[in-house]
């Protein structure tokens, strides 16, 4: 099974434990359901909090995606560097240097500043 039995066992056991916590709480908790407004320092909400949020670090997400895709290649690369030799190292770092140039450019453009 290559270890997957253990993973499945963990999921089942943990699910059981979580259900257990909720079951105990259901048996022991005080009666009634409190209908509370959201905490706003003691005020009532004027609108629902779920809204289109101003994500000002949006440029960083794009930069992250570029790097993250690259990471996918780096995992298998790490396994074969010793076999393939210096060329693997050189190629990967040429690629990384290109990416870092992009990071430098993004920094100069102010992608990491948003306040």
């Amino acid at each position: 099974m290559g270890g997957w039995t253990g993973v499945v066992a963990l999921v089942i056991l943990l699910t059981g434990a979580l259900c257990g916590v909720h079951a105990v709480a259901a048996a022991t908790r005080l009666p009634g359901t409190l209908e509370a407004g959201p905490f706003l320092s003691g005020a009532a909400p004027r609108e629902h909090a779920v809204s289109r949020y101003h994500v000002r670090w949006y440029p960083v997400t794009l930069l992250f995606l570029a790097f993250d895709m690259e990471m996918i290649f780096m995992y298998p690369w790490a396994v074969v560097v010793a076999e393939v030799g210096a060329s693997a190292l050189a190629e990967m770092f040429a690629f990384l240097v290109l990416l870092m140039v992009g990071v430098g450019y993004a920094w100069r453009e102010g992608a990491f500043r948003w306040t």
């Binding site: 022991t28 407004g37 706003l40 320092s41 003691g42 101003h54």
Partner: protein
């Protein structure tokens, strides 16, 4: 076997207090904080995590409404601990003990759990949750359930932001019930994301109302100077204790807001020690260690510089110590504490006007509140909290009707 009752009794020994302070109740707040700290109770940061609501002083008007709303947001087991401003340390401890036994009382808690809040049917779908009395403010009934107002509350609407974009905005009041926040202060903000687009300062709790000016409206941090002015014999040492206590109290708020729980706790302990007539040598020794740790923290410097800068005064009467950024003000407070601790044993009579926040007669906190909206507009929520904590206006100083600042 009553498992529920046993768990209640077991849990009651470690309640999670949410402390609310009304203006003119600094003294009893210090007693409550010291007692809670001594018992090792961890304060709650929001009603959902709280089991005690400790109210220091007598809240009035808007603060009283806010306290009521927050009380109804706390799920049972819970206990209400009102502490009037004249309570002694022993009385505060007794009130907290009484609250613990109420928390452990299974029958009382079961009743509390199903108690219907004033005039509001329980379990009803839709509007009315979280303080129905506020719906009147907007001129809406609050009970309709149509498409545009699910649950009786609107969805966020868009408005222009600082960069010319049209973005959803939320109206979020900061204060009066908020941890590490000046008593009675309300900053009505309009948020887009976590950026404050507009800020407006109000006072909740009586200082601005008709009752604030009545006799007994104490100004705890300015007391020595006011007493000296009234002809009472006050020593410089006594005033220095108050100054050191005030600076440490403000530092504790700032450090707690900055997420440095350990240093904030030490600042509070030092504050209690210096106000509690602790011997100078011991206080100074502990303070030096504290000040070294805080003053040398590169991380703190990195996080606090270039926030909320107040430039040279352009016609404002902002006290000199408030100039500069949050980091400058923090350093000033550290230096101010050290200077005050140096003259703790000075027996000569007090003859100056320099209170912890500037000239006592000048009501310096009014000027701080006046510049606040400008500083907060365009700031991120985290920065805004640090700016307020670094200025730490004392609303006890503010005269009625003096504050309506917009930004």
């Amino acid at each position: 076997m009553d498992v529920s009752g046993r768990l209640l009794r077991y849990a009651a020994g470690r309640p999670r207090p949410l402390v609310v302070t009304a203006p003119h109740a600094t003294g009893v707040r210090l007693l409550a904080e010291a007692e809670i700290g001594r018992r090792g109770w961890r304060p709650a940061e929001a009603p959902a995590g709280a089991s005690l609501l400790v109210v220091c002083g007598i809240p009035e008007d808007a603060l009283a409404r806010a306290v009521r709303t927050v009380w109804h947001q706390i799920a049972a087991p819970k206990a209400f601990v009102p502490l009037s401003p004249d309570r002694t340390a022993e009385a505060v401890a007794a009130e907290l003990d009484a609250a613990v036994s109420r928390l452990a009382d299974a029958r009382a808690q079961r009743e509390e759990a199903v108690r219907v809040p004033y005039g509001e049917p329980r379990g009803r779908d839709g509007g009315g949750r979280g303080g129905a009395e506020h719906h009147g403010d907007e001129g809406h009934g609050g009970h309709e359930h149509d498409m545009g107002r699910p649950g009786g509350v609107r969805m966020a609407e868009r408005g222009p932001d600082r960069d010319g974009l049209a973005l959803d905005r939320l109206h979020v009041p900061l204060g009066p019930v908020l941890p590490y926040w000046p008593a009675g202060l309300v900053v009505e903000t309009t948020l887009q994301g976590d950026v404050i687009q507009e800020a407006e300062v109000r006072i909740a709790g009586g200082a601005a109302g008709a009752h604030g000016a009545r006799a007994g409206a104490t100004r705890f941090w300015d007391e020595p100077w006011l007493a000296a002015r009234a002809g009472w014999p006050v020593t410089r040492g006594a005033a220095a204790r108050r100054t050191a206590g005030a600076q440490l109290d403000s530092l504790a708020r700032l450090l707690a807001t900055a997420g440095w729980a350990g240093a904030a706790a030490e600042a509070r302990r030092l504050r209690d020690r210096v106000l509690g007539e602790g011997p100078r040598e011991e206080v100074v020794r502990r303070y030096d260690r504290f000040a070294r740790r805080v003053g040398r923290s590169r991380l703190l410097r990195w996080m606090l510089h270039d926030l909320g800068a107040i430039d040279a005064p352009g016609g404002t009467d902002v006290p000199g110590w408030a100039r500069g950024d949050v980091l400058d003000r923090t350093r000033h407070r550290l230096a101010g504490t050290a200077a005050a601790l140096a003259v703790l044993d000075d027996r000569s009579p007090l003859d100056d006007e320099e209170g912890p926040r500037g000239p006592v007669g000048g009501h310096p906190s009014e000027a701080l509140l006046a510049v606040l909206p400008g500083l907060l507009t365009g700031a991120e929520l985290a920065a805004a909290r640090l700016i307020v904590a670094s200025l730490d206006p004392d609303l006890d100083q503010v005269r009625p009707g003096r504050v309506t600042a917009h930004g």
